[in-house]
Point group: C2
Chain length 406, copies 2
C-alpha cells in the first residue's frame, strides 16, 4: 500500500524516541555479576573503614611513653599477624612484633619499622629499637570512610574499582536498574538460515547478529531473536507477542514503500506513531511507534541503514534505561578526503576518524551506499554531509559522532 509519509528531521526523531516514558524497574543481583551495571540506590558504609586500627608497616608496636631515648632494648610480648587480634596490655618497656595490615593494640602509639630495629643475640623475646619514626605508621579506624557515608551513589555505573569498595564493606548484593528486554525481528523472505547454503536471490541475516551484539554491548538484554518471511499474518502475530513481553522491539526490513510494508502498516494502527519518514540517508524509511508502552523501532533492512539507525536512535535509548547518557561523542570534525555525492536529505556518512593536532579528521570509509556492508567493521564514526546540490569540499567543518567500542 502506497501512503504519503511526512518526513521529520533526525533531531526531532531522536527527541521523540528519547522522550517516551520508560518502563524502568530495578533488580537485586549478586556483586559478582555487577560489573558495569548501574546502581539504583546509594550504598552506605555499614562500618567505618578501616574498621580497626591498622599497622601500615612491618615492625614493633610501642607505647607513647616509650617513644624516646633510642637506641634502647624492649621486651617482646609476642607477635600480631595480619588477621589476628591482641588483648594483652603493653606495659612500659615492652613492644609487640606486628605485621603490615595487622590489628594494632589500643595502647600502642606507633609502629617502628623493622628496618629501624636490631635483633638481640640469642634472645628472640627481646629487640633493640635504634631510632624513632616521624609518622605513627598506624592508620586509625575510620580514616578513609566514616560509618554511614555514601560509598557508591545511585546512577553510578559500577566498575572493578567499585566492586572492590563494595566488597570491602561486606556488600554481597546490589540493587541495579534492570537492563531493558529487547526483541529483534528481521523480516524478509530472502533471509536464509545461517546453516543453509547461499543461493541466488537469498542473503544471510547479517543484521540480526549485528543488532544483538550492538544491543548487548550497549546494556540491553536480547532474549528473543528471529527472522520471518514476508507474511503479513505471521509478522503481525510475532510482533504483537513480543510487544507484550518487551520494553523495546527492534525490527529490520519491511518498512519500504512497497507491497511488503507490513511493519509500516502496523505502525499506522499503533497507539502512537512517532514517525515513519526521516530526512536522512541512509534509512529515510526508519519508523518508530509505541504500542502498549513498548517502543517498536523499525529499522531499514539495508545493512548500512540498519547500522546507522541503531546508533542514531537505539543506543541513546538503551543507555537511558540505565540512567546513563549515550556513549557516542558528538564532535566538530573536518572532511579530510573527497566525498562527491550530493543528497536531498542529510547523509550520515560511515567514516573513519583520526585526531591530529587536536582536530578530528574524518575519512569516508569505502562504499557508502545503504545496501553495502563491507565497511561496517572498520567504520569508527558517522559524519554529517548536509543535504545540498553541490558536493561538500574537502576541508569543510561538519558534525561527527564517534562510535563506542570501535
Amino acid at each position: 500500500m502506497l501512503t504519503r509519509r511526512t518526513p521529520i528531521s533526525v533531531t526531532e526523531a531522536q527527541k521523540r524516541v528519547q522522550s517516551i516514558p520508560l518502563k524502568t524497574a530495578t533488580e537485586i543481583i549478586p556483586l559478582e555479576e555487577a560489573n558495569h551495571r548501574v546502581l539504583a540506590k546509594d550504598v552506605r558504609a555499614k562500618y567505618e573503614y578501616p574498621h580497626f586500627r591498622r599497622a601500615g608497616m612491618d615492625g614493633y608496636a610501642i607505647r607513647d611513653t616509650d617513644d624516646n631515648d633510642f637506641p634502647k632494648e624492649f621486651s617482646v610480648l609476642g607477635e600480631i599477624q595480619a588477621g589476628a587480634t591482641w588483648d594483652q596490655p603493653l606495659t612500659p618497656g615492652t613492644a609487640v612484633r606486628i605485621m603490615t595490615g595487622a590489628y594494632v593494640p589500643n595502647d600502642a602509639a606507633k609502629v617502628i619499622r623493622i628496618e629501624k630495629t636490631r635483633p638481640v643475640d640469642g634472645n628472640p623475646s627481646r629487640v633493640q629499637i635504634m631510632t624513632s619514626e616521624n609518622k605513627s605508621n598506624i592508620t586509625e579506624a575510620g580514616t578513609d570512610v566514616k560509618k554511614g557515608a555514601v560509598i557508591l551513589s545511585h546512577d553510578q555505573e559500577i566498575n572493578p574499582g567499585g566492586l572492590a569498595v563494595l566488597r570491602a564493606f561486606g556488600v554481597k548484593e546490589v540493587e541495579v536498574y534492570q537492563r531493558p528486554r529487547i526483541a529483534i525481528i528481521a523480516t524478509g523472505t530472502e533471509l536464509l538460515n545461517s546453516d543453509a547454503p547461499i543461493a541466488p536471490g537469498k542473503i544471510y541475516n547479517s543484521n540480526g547478529i549485528m543488532l544483538k551484539n550492538l544491543v548487548e554491548e550497549t546494556g540491553g538484554r536480547v532474549d528473543f531473536e528471529t527472522q520471518l518471511p514476508d507474511d503479513a499474518s505471521t509478522i503481525r502475530k510475532v510482533l504483537n507477542e513480543q510487544i507484550a513481553s518487551h520494553e523495546i522491539v527492534i525490527t529490520d526490513g519491511g518498512v519500504s514503500v512497497g507491497d511488503f510494508d507490513y511493519i509500516g502498516d502496523r505502525a499506522r494502527q499503533a497507539d502512537r506513531l512517532l514517525f515513519n519518514k526521516i530526512k536522512q540517508r541512509p534509512g529515510s524509511v526508519t519508523t518508530a511507534f509505541v504500542q502498549d508502552g513498548t517502543l517498536v523501532m523499525a529499522l531499514s533492512g539495508n545493512p548500512g541503514a540498519c547500522f546507522t539507525g541503531f546508533y542514531l536512535y537505539m543506543e541513546p535509548l538503551i543507555r537511558r534505561y540505565q540512567h546513563q547518557s549515550s556513549r557516542i561523542r558528538k564532535v566538530r570534525a573536518t572532511l579530510a578526503a573527497p566525498y562527491n555525492k550530493t543528497n536531498g536529505f542529510d547523509r550520515y556518512l560511515r567514516c573513519r576518524y583520526a585526531i591530529k593536532d587536536g582536530r578530528c579528521l574524518v575519512y569516508p570509509n569505502g562504499i557508502n551506499r545503504s545496501g553495502s556492508l563491507a565497511n561496517l567493521q572498520t567504520t569508527t564514526c558517522l559524519a554529517l554531509i548536509p543535504h545540498s546540490t553541490t558536493p561538500m569540499q574537502v576541508g569543510t567543518e561538519t558534525d561527527a559522532w564517534l562510535l563506542p567500542f570501535k
Copy 2:
C-alpha cells in the same frame, strides 16, 4: 627473611613484563560468540557481494531496448519478491514487478521506481511507466566485494559491524587468539570469606573481585580464583599448581619485606626473576617472575597499589596476548588541584580528569594512601607525581594515563 632488593624504574619494569615470550594459541569459535575477540587469520570472501544482481528500489524491471518513448504501457509478466528468482526472458514491451533487494533478471537493464508508474485500470497484468530513471537502480553482483577479497584481517578485534560482514559471507566460525588463562591468588590470614561477618583484624578480599573483573574486561579469562592464609607450604603448593596450568598467575599480598614474604621467597627461586622492587608509589614491592614459561605477577595486597599495578603491568600484557595495544591512553596533563605530599619514588596518583579547551586537567581523587580504597570507583586516570623533596605546584604539566571502561 630480610633481603636487599634493587629497585628499577617503572618503564624498565614494564619493558621486562612486555618482553616475555607469549604462549599464544588460537581457537575456532562460533560467530555468535566472537564479538570483541581478535581474528588470528584473514577471512576472505567465498563469493562476490552482492552475489546476484540486486534491485535497489521497488518498481518494474525493463529491458534496455524498452527504455525510451515514455509514457508507455507494458505487459507485466509477473512479480519477483525478495528471496525469489526468475528465469523467464523479458520480451520487448514486457516488464516484471520487482521488490527492493530482489533478484534482477539477467536481461533487465533498469528498475523503474513504482513512484514513476501508474496502474492500468482493471488490468493488473499491465502498467504504465511515465518516465525513465537516470540510474539503473540495480546493484551489480560484486559491486561491494570481489570473490577472494579479504573481508576482515588478522589482528582485527571483531565488532558488531564485523559480525554482520562475516555473516553476510556465510561465515559460521572464526579462528581467534585464545584469551590467556589467568589464575588469581590472594594471600593473607586476615582475609574473610565473603559470607563471614566482619571481625576485628579481618578484612574482606576486595582485591579478588576487582582483579577478576579487570582481567575479564581486558580480555583475559579467569578460571581459578582463591584466597589463602599466610602458610608457606599451602601458598607454594597452590602457586606451583596454577603456574602449570595458566599463562599468567596474579597474586596479591605476601610481598612485603616482613616474615610472610612467601611470594617474594618463591620469586627468588624462579627460572627468571624480572624484578622485586620498583621505584614507584604505591606498590614499590611489586614483584614479577617467570616460571616454566608462566608469568607470575605479585601485586601488593594494598588496594590502591593492587589497582595501580594492574594497569601499569597487567593490562598491556593481557592486551598483547590478543595482539592488541593497551587501551590506556598516555597524555600530557596539568595538575589542577593541590597535592602536597612528596615522595622518594615517583607516585602514580589516583585522579579524575576533565578535558577543557583541549587540555587534560587532573584532580587528585580523595585519599591516595596505598591502603585506601574509597576512591577506586571514581578514579579515571593515574597522574605522575615525580619523586621530589618539594610538592608539585598546581598548574604543572605531567604525564597521565587515562583508564579504559571508567
